[in-house]
């Protein structure tokens, strides 16, 4: 069991000692069901930290944010950032270190093990409530959620509403940390790629129809990109100004810049955006599921990434984010790597 008090105590300690400039963790959400990210600077505020299955976010994005902010500052505070991570999130840190976006010393990792659980999927909870509005939701003992609707209280076992990614999770505990809370419990995952089974078995035509319908919905709010810890490029091909413009950039250069994708949320452009993003996440996506969770129009983005994760595993025996000392998939090769697809 993860003791919340232990976590709070440790956070308090590292803040007191000035080991970290601040701690990123979870605190209770305002109205929505999920926890909310919290940034704690003062030791006396660490009691705001919580840990329960509503802590869905991957906070590693904020490490990326801080790194980018530092690069703009004249005298940045270079002390590490304290960060609370789950298993999946910890693998994102590994990828960032592998890619040399951050150093190991940039982060002080407070790792939490999900043990036998994981985090909830709000959509599954909504389904359970058959459209009834949630008036109050509480995480109670014995791994139950107590949800109040106008028809009274309902007890929902967390197990019944776990996010798909948690059901397919390869490690329920952080693989990199400075302090670990909870146990590195073993848990058998029978079908690590279960969610893509259905689409994989479909004919190309059926799959095309499915993705066409899904991607037509995209409004290009870019929440999927904004929330992704692996999307840290300064320039993105998806933007209409996809170049770093400086005072020296000439009008000519600006005019000549190719626009790969139009801003119009037309199917062709949406597909362009999503294919580029998916390919750029091959061997990098750690399946925290944040893109899919953030999407306001419920596009099942996880399926795209999961498919590529599976390809990396099967073709190159590569599992993402387990070892930051290993070279990344894209920057390395082995003699035995398959190459029959290169023609």
């Amino acid at each position: 069991m993860v003791e919340m008090e232990q976590l709070q105590k440790e956070a308090k300690e590292i803040l007191k000692q000035g080991k970290v400039k601040f701690v990123i963790g979870y605190s209770k959400g305002s109205q929505n069901l999920t926890a909310t990210p919290v940034f704690i600077k003062k030791p006396e505020h660490t009691s705001r930290l919580i840990w329960d299955p509503t802590c869905v976010q991957n906070l590693v994005k904020f490490i990326v944010d801080d790194k980018q902010k530092q690069s703009r500052e004249k005298k940045p505070d270079e002390r590490p950032v304290g960060i609370v991570v789950k298993g999946c999130d910890s693998r994102a840190i590994n990828v960032l270190i592998q890619e040399k976006f951050i150093d190991r010393d940039d982060v002080y990792i407070l790792g939490l093990s999900c043990e036998e659980l994981g985090v909830v999927d709000e959509k599954k909870i909504a389904q359970k409530l058959e459209g009834k509005k949630i008036e109050k939701i509480e995480f109670a003992k014995k791994n139950n959620l107590i949800v109040s609707t106008k028809d009274g209280e309902k007890k929902i076992p967390v197990k019944d509403v776990l996010a798909d990614r948690c059901l397919e999770c390869k490690a329920h505990f952080p693989v990199i940390y400075d302090q670990l809370f909870g146990e590195e419990t073993e848990r058998e995952v029978k079908e690590p790629y279960k969610s893509i089974k259905k689409t994989e078995s479909q004919s190309p035509k059926k799959r095309w129809d499915f993705w066409k319908e899904q991607l037509e919905k995209c409004i290009r709010c870019y929440a999927c990109r904004s929330i992704c810890p692996m999307c840290y490029c300064d320039e993105c091909v998806a933007d209409s100004i996809n170049m770093a413009v400086t005072a020296e950039t000439t009008a000519e250069e600006k005019a000549q810049k190719i626009k790969w994708i139009e801003r119009s949320p037309a199917l062709s452009e949406n597909i362009g955006y999503h294919l580029i993003r998916a390919i750029h996440l091959a061997g990098r996506c750690i399946d925290c599921g944040e893109c899919e969770r953030a999407c306001p129009v419920d596009i099942p983005l996880r399926l795209l990434n999961k498919k590529l994760e599976k390809a990396a595993h099967e073709l190159f025996d590569y599992d993402v984010g387990f070892d930051h000392k290993k070279p990344s998939l894209i920057s390395s090769f082995k003699d035995e790597d398959p190459e029959d697809f290169i023609r």
């Binding site: 909504a126 709010c221 929440a223 801003r263 306001p296």
Partner: protein
């Protein structure tokens, strides 16, 4: 005009609107969206809040402004591409979303007037639906001068009374729409009128969330441009476009040329939604960005809605629909931000 329409007869009304493009909330998987419908049975008036408001019909995410065509010889041809002249009707408009249209009207009606928006707006009849039960846990329309049965921006308001609707039209457009199927409507009884009042009164009480003393907040905001408050509040912001794209009152756009062929040069000039939350929104062509970080962007969103808009149009640019709260992936809650402004030292 005030009439009664049974739920059973509702589809007949729609079937009589042959000359109209009919839009309304349609359920797809777990979400509702306003869609153009052919079959009245597709309409689901028992809906929770749609992801996007009817703004997407009046102010579409992509609007063609002009077509251009430049053949090798000869002058370039430029053709203005105004929206088609059609008659549209949107059913199931929430009162907050209808009020939002009246706010956007103020902006697009300014001289010389936005032809594209105004044409779509004028050729669309809005049929509202009283929120007898608030469609979102984050509704707070009553804090902003609205109510679950407000009629601002609507041509017709329908209110559900058991197995029938109380249908009230306030404009010529609305009355005309009812006359298109006059035989399906009955006159309301005294009891119906009493029931209507009751439902309206009850509906207000069901709104759970509120912001108090907004005018105090507006005053306070005036002195907070340089406050560290925005840094603190925006720490978790992702700079995505959800809050503004989903907002029924946000109306910023970008204009770009989409080239369809390079020789001969042919294409379209389009306007697409844009948002103050995207880093490139304010980037100058020199590369300088006056709003370089997320704190200045959150500040912009709040100040535009609760300070600048008040200065310019004497109204808040928010109608309390709650979408930005419900859909924010990191739980930034506009009500909380406003409450914190009030208490900020």
């Amino acid at each position: 005009m005030e009439k009664i329409l049974t739920k059973k007869e509702f589809p007949s009304w729609i079937k009589n609107l042959k000359s109209f493009n009919v839009y309304g909330p349609v359920k797809k998987d777990a979400l509702w969206e306003y869609e153009r419908i052919q079959d009245p049975d597709k309409l689901d008036l028992n809906f929770k809040n749609t992801v996007l408001s009817p703004k997407k019909i009046i102010f579409p995410q992509r609007e063609v402004i002009l077509d251009f065509n430049h053949k090798k010889k000869g002058k370039p041809e430029i053709q203005e591409a105004l929206p088609e002249e059609t008659k549209n009707v949107i059913f199931g408009v929430r009162p907050c979303d209808a009020r939002a249209l009246t706010l956007t009207d103020k902006v697009f009606e300014e001289e010389p007037g936005d032809k594209y928006y105004l044409r779509r707006r004028h050729q669309t009849v809005t049929v509202g639906l009283t929120c007898s039960d608030p469609p979102s846990e984050n509704c707070f329309c009553t804090s902003l001068g609205g109510s679950p049965h407000s009629t601002e921006g609507l041509d017709i308001l329908m209110t559900e009374l058991n197995h029938k609707y109380y249908v009230h039209s306030f404009t010529d457009k609305g009355r005309e729409l009812m006359k298109a199927a006059s035989d399906v409507f009955k006159n309301p009884s005294e009891k119906d009128k009493k029931d209507l009042k009751q439902v309206h009164k009850e509906s207000e009480k069901k709104i759970k969330r509120q912001v108090k003393e907004l005018s105090k907040i507006t005053d306070k905001l005036k002195g907070m441009f340089d406050s560290p408050f925005w840094d603190e509040e925006s720490m978790s912001c992702l700079k995505c476009g959800i809050c503004t794209y989903l907002c029924p009152t946000c109306h910023c756009f970008d204009i770009s040329d989409e080239v369809l062929s390079s020789s001969p040069l042919k294409g379209q000039r389009v306007r697409t939604w844009d948002t103050c939350q995207f880093p490139y929104f304010t980037m100058h062509s020199s590369g300088h960005n006056p709003r370089p970080d997320k704190s200045s962007r959150l500040r912009q969103r709040i100040l535009h809605k609760f300070s600048y808009f008040v200065d310019n149009y004497d109204d808040y640019q928010c109608t309390g629909c709650g979408r930005c709260i419900s859909k924010c992936p990191v739980d930034i809650d506009i009500i909380e931000v406003l409450e914190k402004v009030k208490d900020y030292e």
